[in-house]
């Protein structure tokens, strides 16, 4: 690819992303769907801006998945992984086994030889790590029971790819394996010819190398790099680490994603975790976006147009089959109905590994192009369908649960009327809720974490499960009669949308909202919140007060200083809000003005004792008036 055409390509991809993603987000569809639509738009069947090289881009961009698993690993401490072992092996193992068996059976029923049917079945059992994790993370659902389940299954699938790749050549029915091996990562490796035990040893050695190296070697290396004090060198090292592990894994025939995931987990406890995360994050995001665009661009609309019935029924059939297995397993593993639905709606697509496995199976002579082409189209369609399915789940199915559960609850309990509703019971909301409860003030809680809801209900709190931004849920929770609505949600945009809903439908309720920063506080005040609480302010001021004490301030002096500062600070936010309506530039100058004011104030405080407003305790003027000449004694 020449430099110029590279730039043209980059321009097209980036432009598509910049246009489509904000649009998709605006309509509440999530970034993944935005990328996919962008891909379709610029693909050979849309504007035709990118052609066949879309496939190459996709293989390149698959590296985004590798990076994503590294970042996920970083966030996952070994202890947590160990806690998930049951759902990884149980839920994941059963999902892969049952789906493979059913899909293989279906393949044979359509007349495929068992080898080909098994190859197809295994492939279809996999789901898309990239799409599912990205979408769930965006919706803040990864920590829920269903989200954790989905994560466990995806992790197991990433491991299961390895034996699948090993099995493919054994399923070949006659035609010799093709020599061409353009998608090397998964196919031919260093060890292809070696005996089994050597391979096993090398694989174990590589894994052990990552664990031991990650634990004992990387820290000193990062420390030395940290001393160089050049940000880009640290970034380079982080990239080097991920690419190096991916290469190593490829060489020994393991999934690169799995290798980097492992490295991430090993580094999760290290002090460099956050630095690594923020270094890799932008690359991961862009590559994943590229990957989704490529998936969109590679959907073969010509084939779909030629045989629409086949492709659509294939797609729906696959999705329905997987959905059924997932829903069944979820119930078997005792997830609540709502979480089971989330779990089943998250995973019914076929994953990106399908492209690799199908092309590998083609090379190995297991599957004919006549079989793989419609399957590849169905796989891409199923991936594109996922974000839509999750939106459907969120808008149509979940709402029924929240209220239904709540209604059940009401029926068997004497109605207690709480004057306070708390939306969000994370670390912020729970502290506040405990304060209320400790003072025997009842509050109705709305929360999306079903396990937390379960616990709180056991403890006798009145809790509704569900998205607090929903009108019907608010109504069920008694927003009509509530005096105060406390918003302690973890996401600023959710908070804002809840404020809009509440202001519109429950004009009488007093809204107290948690804000995250200054600009957020503005938005909330403009939306009509009665009081805004910037979450960091109190802890920050308390810390500052303690710092003042440690450098010699009297406790009460520090306390007064912090109180005065808080008032000044809140005044600033109010003033900023008042002027914000007059346009953005105005707002900026006011903000700058405020910084200057603050600077002046702080400097003046330091230099001039007269500016201390607590003069009532020790007025110089009084001394001057009544003290006579003895002031010189000071």
């Amino acid at each position: 690819m020449s430099t110029e055409s590279f730039f043209v390509q980059a321009f097209v991809y980036l432009a598509a992303a910049v246009v489509a993603v904000p649009l998709a987000k605006r309509f509440g569809l999530g970034s993944v769907l935005g990328y996919l639509i962008a891909g379709v738009a610029i693909g050979p069947f849309g504007l035709g801006l990118v052609g066949e090289e879309g496939q190459d881009v996709m293989h390149f961009a698959e590296f985004g998945v590798v990076m994503m698993l590294f970042v996920i690993g970083l966030e996952l401490e070994p202890a947590l992984l160990w806690r998930l072992r049951k759902s990884i092996l149980g839920l994941g193992g059963l999902q892969v086994a049952i789906t493979t068996a059913l899909a293989t059976g279906a393949g044979m029923a359509f007349g495929l030889p068992w080898q080909a049917a098994l190859a197809v079945g295994m492939t279809l059992a996999l789901s898309s790590t990239a799409i599912v994790l990205q979408t769930l993370a965006e919706k803040g659902l990864l920590k829920t029971t269903g989200g954790q389940g989905a994560f466990s299954v995806l992790l197991f699938q990433d491991i299961a790819v390895i034996p699948m790749l090993a099995l493919m050549p054994l399923l070949a029915t006659g035609h010799g394996p093709a020599v061409d091996d353009s998608h090397g990562a998964a196919a031919e490796t260093l060890l292809t010819g070696a005996p089994g035990w050597v391979r096993a040893l090398v694989v174990l050695g590589a894994v052990a190398g990552i664990i031991v190296g990650g634990r004992y070697l990387l820290r000193p290396v990062f420390r030395i790099l940290g001393m160089v004090r050049m940000r880009e060198i640290f970034t380079a090292a982080a990239l080097l680490l991920v690419i190096g592990i991916a290469l190593l894994m490829g060489e020994v025939g393991l999934s690169p994603a799995l290798g980097t995931f492992l490295a991430g987990v090993v580094l999760a406890n290290s002090e460099y975790r956050h630095e690594l995360e923020s270094d890799i994050e932008p690359f991961k995001g862009l590559l994943l976006g590229l990957f989704f665009i490529a998936v969109g661009a590679s959907i073969d609309f010509a084939l779909i147009q030629a045989r629409p019935g086949l492709i659509v029924s294939l797609t729906l059939g696959i999705v329905a089959l997987k959905f059924g297995v997932l829903a069944g397993l979820a119930r078997g593993f005792r997830m609540g109905a709502d979480q089971a639905l989330l779990f089943a709606f998250a995973l019914p697509q076929v994953g990106e590994f399908a492209f690799v496995l199908f092309s590998f199976a083609g090379q190995e002579g297991v599957l004919e192009p006549a079989i793989t082409s419609p399957l590849v189209a169905a796989v891409a369609l199923s991936m594109a369908l996922t974000p839509l399915l999750l939106v459907l789940n969120e808008r149509v199915f979940q709402p029924q649960f929240g209220t239904k559960r709540a209604d059940d609850r009401e029926a068997d309990e004497i109605e207690e009327v709480n004057r306070i509703i708390i939306a969000g019971f994370g670390s912020f909301g729970s502290t506040l809720g405990r304060l209320l409860k400790a003072n025997r003030v009842g509050a109705t809680v709305l929360d999306v974490d079903s396990e937390r809801v379960e616990l709180l209900r056991k403890l006798g709190l009145k809790v509704y499960y569900g998205d607090a931004t929903r009108y019907d849920l608010l109504k069920t929770a008694g927003a009509d009669h509530a005096q105060i609505l406390i918003i302690a949600l973890d996401a600023p945009d959710k908070t804002l949308s809840l404020v809009h809903t509440a202001r519109k439908h429950f004009p009488n309720v007093t809204i107290l909202a948690r804000a995250f920063d200054w600009s957020d506080a503005h938005d909330l005040q403009e939306a009509g919140v009665d009081a805004v609480y910037r979450q960091a302010v109190d802890a920050s001021l308390r810390m500052g007060t303690d710092a003042l004490r440690r450098v010699g301030f009297r406790a009460f002096q520090a306390e007064r200083a912090s109180q005065k500062f808080l008032r000044h600070d809140e005044e600033s936010v109010r003033e900023l809000t008042a002027t914000r309506g007059q346009g953005r530039s105005e707002y900026l100058t006011v903000a700058r003005q405020r910084i200057q004011d603050l600077e002046c104030l702080l400097l003046a405080d330091l230099e001039e004792a007269e500016l201390d407003r607590d003069a009532g305790w020790d007025p110089e003027t009084l001394r001057a008036e009544f003290g006579g000449g003895s002031l010189e004694d000071r």
Binding site: A555, E559, D633, R634
Partner: protein
């Protein structure tokens, strides 16, 4: 021997030339406890049980504070309101403070002449502190006349140092029970008694 508790309440010690010198002279003695209320409770969030335990462990309570608007700083009022509970400090079962001694040690901006019946302020400091005196008596405590640093607006540093020495001597005398307090019960202030005890000095 008496164990002496100094309850110190000054919202801005960092600005007070007088109280800095008084505090510096509080004896470093095992029977003297200096308890800095504003430092301990910058949010006026008084630990009632802790304060009661402190009172239990001492015989004499010295309230040290600046005289603001003819009264104590709000901390001391808060302290009284919360710590001197009914059933503990007063009432039929409130006997915790019975027999203990209370004394105010304060600074006032005006000179001694101003705090006289015919003076600028019409009343003596002791008369103005009547609520504290009544509180002590309601709790069954002995109440001593206040020890006062008068005219703080015009004091020279030398005099402030001298007052500091007197205050130290007063506290030591309270520990040792050497002060001829019986003679002083009816006085407007304890200043002359203390000065006589110290042995002369600046007026």
């Amino acid at each position: 021997m008496a164990r002496v508790l100094v309850l110190f309440a000054h919202p801005a010690l960092e600005k007070s030339r007088v109280h800095q010198r008084l505090v510096a002279r509080v004896p470093d003695h095992p029977d003297v406890t200096f308890h800095d209320l504003y430092e301990r409770y910058p949010r006026l969030d008084i630990d009632v049980r802790g304060e009661q335990a402190l009172l239990d462990a001492h015989d004499t309570v010295v309230l040290q504070f600046p005289f603001y608007w003819y009264s104590t700083p709000p901390m001391l009022k808060q302290w009284q309101d919360l710590v001197l509970e009914h059933g503990w400090a007063y009432g039929s079962t409130g006997t915790a403070l019975r027999g203990k001694t209370m004394l105010c040690a304060l600074s006032a901006g005006g000179p001694r002449e101003a705090y006289q019946e015919g003076g600028y302020n019409r009343l003596t400091v002791r008369a103005l502190l009547a609520p504290l005196e009544r509180t002590a008596i309601l709790c069954g405590m002995h109440y001593l006349p206040p020890w006062i640093v008068y005219g703080t607006h015009g004091l020279s540093l030398d005099v402030m140092e001298e007052r500091g020495r007197e205050y130290g001597a007063l506290l030591e005398a309270l520990v040792g029970g050497e002060l001829p307090v019986a003679d002083g019960r009816g006085l407007d202030d304890l200043n002359d008694v203390v000065r006589a005890h110290v042995g002369g000095g600046v007026a």
